[in-house]
Amino acid sequence: MDEIQKKEQASSTHKIGIYLWIWGLLFVLSFFSYLVDWFQFQGLLRHSLILIFMFLKAGLIMAFFMHLYWERYALVNILLWPMTAIVGFIVLMAAEAKYTVFTRLLYFFIGG
């Protein structure tokens, strides 16, 4: 095996340990998010815990299983920036939902 080949292989494969670690972490995080329901946490605590475990899991999968951590920034940025549009969409639809429920309460129960 010549020098270039060696280098290519070294950069495209990673030690098995890193995959097993991420795998284990995903199991633990999934277990934790299941426990959120098991102990019937409610309100802000429930929602923030669900979101924290969700984003941690999603981040680990994308960064290490999907290799984004090792990709060049040109690819990483072209993928991640468009997703910020989703946040804007969520904000818009949340406002819309509040308005819908307001009109429903008004016309169904109070009577416009």
Partner: protein, 234 residues
């Protein structure tokens, strides 16, 4: 492009502006198929986002109580209801299959044909188990009277969102399983070692195909993380 020349390029944001402005291949060191898969996954992200956002809108705007998912999706083990048991098992099965896929990609790049093939097969069986459990869940809920237009537990919108979101995700898993079996066969046959041509293309097969397949499979797992959090736990 060999990695030797990749190492001479600037890194980080400086590297990004360099790559984008290089007036040639922008995604350096990335095979075109991989870029295309990423673009597809990005568009798929938007589809699933639209589903989950409409679910958010539907759930917030209904004046009827939303069904308690913890009870709706509970299984009776020895007469005792265990909340979300099946969903938890499905989550662990999918994560397990994601792990075997990640290892398959690693062994593929190391040209370890047998290991790669068996791990892809294990991933496919994990996916098949997941789909089987989803079929069980669907038939259980349909049996209990859940329909896209009504259900005995609460807000009527629950059924349509449930069938639409889990159904679309289940379709993705099923398609993934089919491709996993096809690629397991290709790996065992040695297509990626002797560079045999695939169908619809004159290009030689390469183990990068396993990474592209892996990207799709991890994405299916990724979507499940969000469905699990928002639909089942929230």
């Amino acid at each position: 492009m060999s990695n030797n020349s990749l190492n001479n390029l600037p890194e980080g944001f400086k590297g990004m502006s360099h790559d984008m402005g290089s007036d040639q291949t922008a995604f350096k060191g990335v095979q075109w198929g991989k870029v295309m898969m990423w673009i597809f996954l990005l568009s798929d992200t938007f589809i699933f986002s639209c589903f989950l956002i409409s679910y958010m809108k539907g759930r917030t705007s209904t004046v009827v109580d939303w069904p308690n998912t913890s009870e709706v999706f509970s299984l009776h083990v020895g007469g005792v209801p265990v909340p979300l048991l099946l969903i938890a098992i499905m989550t662990f099965v999918l994560i397990t299959s994601s792990g075997t896929m990640a290892l398959a990609v690693k062994y593929g790049y190391e040209k370890n044909r047998k290991m790669c093939g068996w791990l892809i097969l294990a991933t496919a069986i994990g996916g098949l188990t997941f789909v089987g459990m989803q079929i069980f869940e669907w038939s259980k809920l349909i049996h209990e009277g859940v329909r896209p237009w009504e259900n005995p537990f609460g807000a009527k919108q629950f059924g349509s969102f449930f069938f639409m979101i889990t159904g679309f995700h289940g379709t993705h898993v099923s398609i993934g399983v089919i491709f996993l079996f096809i690629y397991a066969r290709k790996v065992f046959r040695g297509d990626f070692d002797n560079g045999k041509r695939g169908f619809f293309t004159t290009m030689k097969s390469d183990y990068v195909a396993i990474e592209i397949l892996g990207l799709y499979w991890h994405f299916v797992d990724l979507v499940w993380v969000f469905i699990f959090a928002f639909f089942y736990l929230w």
